[in-house]
């Protein structure tokens, strides 16, 4: 905090759809926060933004997708007391990492042909591959309450906690029909981090895992694996689907393998 007692906040964008900042900008609650905060950098709303000034809290949205963005995240880290990776791109590399195992040149050729640009593209990566991140806000986009909880907790001088239970828990509490068991659709609710109140299953839509995978040492995997199998889903299908938002998760394949190995005949 500077002399004025206000928390200095920066919102920085890497490569993304700008949805995480839009979600925050669309919150009417933001107006209540303003008297306590000073916006040092937030190009989407503030013309007088400065990328290299010190801040108390740095929110970073987007994946590191150009060589220039590697330098940017390092600079943000140096200038910030707390760094928060916001959303699926910053936390897990985002949907643009879906084909991370393909050579960049191949993807480039498909979209740009022989065209060249003067900036240096690279395969999208999570922010954490380059700097230490203090806290993560999950989701594509995050829920408004994710922002409220994180900001509110930090402003109160405390530290927010991670959610360690899956979407299924919230879905059961809401009493929605099970998309996986009743409709046989490839719902990732059982292995996806909760916090959305099972938004998609609530609309009868199978979860696509936008909040990322939860830790893998959990008890319900045995029965889940049986259900995935009974519904005819293969391990490869689950991995392919999990990779939409989780391609850089180092534990992903291990976790899915464990689920399928766990099936007791």
């Amino acid at each position: 905090m500077e002399g004025n007692g206000k928390v200095r906040i920066g919102f920085y964008a890497l490569t993304s759809c700008y949805g995480c900042q839009l979600q925050l900008a669309m919150m009417d609650e933001l107006l209540q926060l303003l008297p306590n905060a000073e916006i040092v950098c937030w190009f989407m709303v503030e013309r007088e933004s400065f990328e290299d000034k010190p801040v108390d809290i740095a929110f970073i949205e987007g994946s590191v997708s150009t060589e220039e963005e590697i330098e940017l995240v390092k600079k943000i880290r140096e200038n910030a007391k707390v760094v928060i990776a916001v959303g699926s791109c910053a936390v897990h590399g985002g949907v643009q990492s879906w084909e991370k195992d393909k050579p960049l040149e191949e993807l480039w050729k498909t979209v740009y042909g022989d065209g060249k640009v003067k900036f240096e593209p690279k395969m999208a990566e999570p922010v954490e591959n380059y700097i230490n991140v203090d806290y993560r806000i999950y989701g594509c986009p995050p829920e408004k309450r994710d922002f409220l909880y994180a900001i509110g907790t930090f402003l109160a001088g405390s530290w927010p906690e991670d959610i360690d239970y899956p979407v299924c828990v919230e879905c059961r509490l809401k009493g929605y029909p099970c998309v996986l068991i009743e409709k046989g659709e490839p719902c990732l609710g059982p292995i996806t981090r909760a916090g959305c109140d099972a938004r998609c299953p609530g609309f009868g839509i199978a979860c696509i895992g936008c909040r990322g995978a939860i830790g893998y040492d959990v008890a319900w995997f045995d029965s889940l694996a049986r259900t995935f199998r009974e519904k005819g889903l293969t391990k490869e299908e689950i991995i392919e689907r999990m990779k939409i938002f989780n391609a850089h998760n180092p534990k992903l394949e291990e976790m899915v393998n464990k689920i399928f190995e766990g099936v007791k005949e």
């Binding site: 013309r47 949907v95 640009v117 609309f203």
Partner: protein, 428 residues
């Protein structure tokens, strides 16, 4: 060399969606070079969805852009449905239009009040306007909230809607919710008119006045709207959507991760003003009256007219959504979804996203995407936008650099560019 000139640059244009910059090089004979640098990294959306299951690809496409994710979702879904040979029922189409209008209302309100208005009122950010401009900020929030809520109810959320799927919707709101929506839209009408009056008073800079070729989707059913199967240009050329590649050429420029586009070899414009230029005869209601009485301000020759055109559309689409909800209610109860058989095929959908023509061309083979071509409004606009920035720079290059930066940024903001959106344009 008589003088030493440094380039005038804006590294990161503020109050637009995505990362872009402006670079102006001045020499002894005036402006030498003007570049809109698009520095947002590439995301390869077409490439990464090839070979993927159709429903998973359709979940990913909206992630191209948060400001118009409903536009991306609905256009991608229509292209996929055309590819597999499915046509949605009329009432489902009406509700898709309402969802799309939710996006239009939210996007226009955000652009006009939060991105454009602060420049005119002398603020660097919209949040600073709260005390002095309570009424305006109140209206901005009300309209934004209305659009978001329409998307929450019909699309599952305001950003990245999952509830629009092949064959219809996962789930539809109760009848009472649609009735409430109608009431809220009626309540919003005076606020949209206030917005129009407010923006009709703002300056349109004569520096960028000149001929512009405008392209827009020809509305289906001859009522001003979002969906259509033909594209229409202000030079009176009309062609089926599937033929877009015969008329519009995309090419890579070295200073931009987004490609530029030419129509018959020349830059062109898309967006709200382009829709009015091409389709004003299909307006109706209060919007038609306002258009007739403000034609002199809604000029096809000035990109700043795009701001007022968006304000006019706020009036129009609010009224239009009420009529569409009535159409849907007349058929109540509505079955949310039809089974869609996933056959092989190719489909092109062209719709009007808030910022202009959005093209999706998808080929489906064995239930997976085998070809994808997406062109977004900002990618269409970039060449024209750069030309208008140059026109502004040529008139003001000897001014104070801060003033020049401010004016060129305003040109860019009038286009309401979706820079993130523009960075995964298609194959050559």
């Amino acid at each position: 060399m008589k003088n030493l000139y440094l380039p005038i640059t804006v590294d990161h244009i503020a109050r637009v969606e995505g990362k872009g910059g402006v670079e102006i090089v001045v020499g002894d004979e005036g402006v030498k070079e003007v570049k809109l640098n698009i520095i947002e990294g590439p995301r390869f959306f077409e490439a990464i969805t090839i070979g993927k299951k159709l429903d998973e690809a359709l979940a990913v496409y909206p992630r191209i852009c948060s400001f118009c994710s409903a536009a991306h979702k609905l256009t991608a879904v229509e292209a996929a449905e055309k590819a597999v040979g499915f046509t949605p029922r009329e009432e489902i189409q009406a509700l898709r239009d309402v969802l799309y209008i939710g996006d239009m209302i939210e996007s226009h309100a955000l652009h006009l009040y939060l991105l454009v208005l602060p420049d005119y009122l002398g603020y660097s950010n919209p949040l600073k306007m709260v005390d002095e401009y309570k009424k305006e900020i109140g209206i901005a929030l009300d309209l934004k909230n209305l659009g978001s809520w329409m998307m929450d109810e019909l699309g599952s959320r305001a950003i990245h809607q999952e509830n629009a799927v092949l064959g219809g919707f996962g789930k539809l709101p109760d009848k009472s919710v649609l009735e409430t929506m109608k009431a809220k839209l009626k309540e919003a009408l005076p606020k949209t008119e206030y917005t129009f009056e407010l923006f009709a008073k703002l300056e349109q800079y004569g520096e960028v006045e000149g001929p512009i070729t405008h392209l827009a989707v020809k509305p289906r059913g001859d009522v001003y709207g979002i969906y259509g199967d033909y594209l229409k240009a202000s030079d009176d050329v009309e062609f089926p959507s599937e033929d877009y590649r015969e008329h519009i050429r995309e090419f890579v420029v070295e200073h931009s991760f987004a490609k530029h586009s030419h129509y018959h070899g020349k830059p062109f414009m898309v967006g709200a003003i382009s829709r009015l230029v091409n389709n004003a005869d299909t307006l109706y209601g209060r919007a038609k009256e306002l258009y007739e009485s403000h034609k002199d301000l809604l000029r096809p020759t000035n990109p700043f007219a795009n701001n007022l055109a968006q304000a006019l559309e706020l009036v129009y689409f609010t009224e239009r959504a009420i009529d569409l909800i009535d159409e849907a209610l007349a058929k109540w109860p509505i079955r949310p979804r039809d089974e869609v058989e996933i056959r092989d095929g190719f489909g092109v959908s062209t719709t009007e996203a808030p910022r202009g023509i959005l093209v999706y061309a998808l080929k489906v083979e064995n239930g997976r995407v085998s070809y994808a071509d997406i062109i977004t409004p900002t990618a269409f606009n970039l060449a024209m936008m750069e030309r208008h920035v140059r026109m502004m720079a040529e008139k003001h290059y000897s001014d104070d650099p801060e003033r020049l930066k401010y004016l060129t940024e305003m040109v860019v903001r009038a286009y309401d560019p979706c820079i993130s959106c523009s960075v995964h344009v298609a194959r050559l």
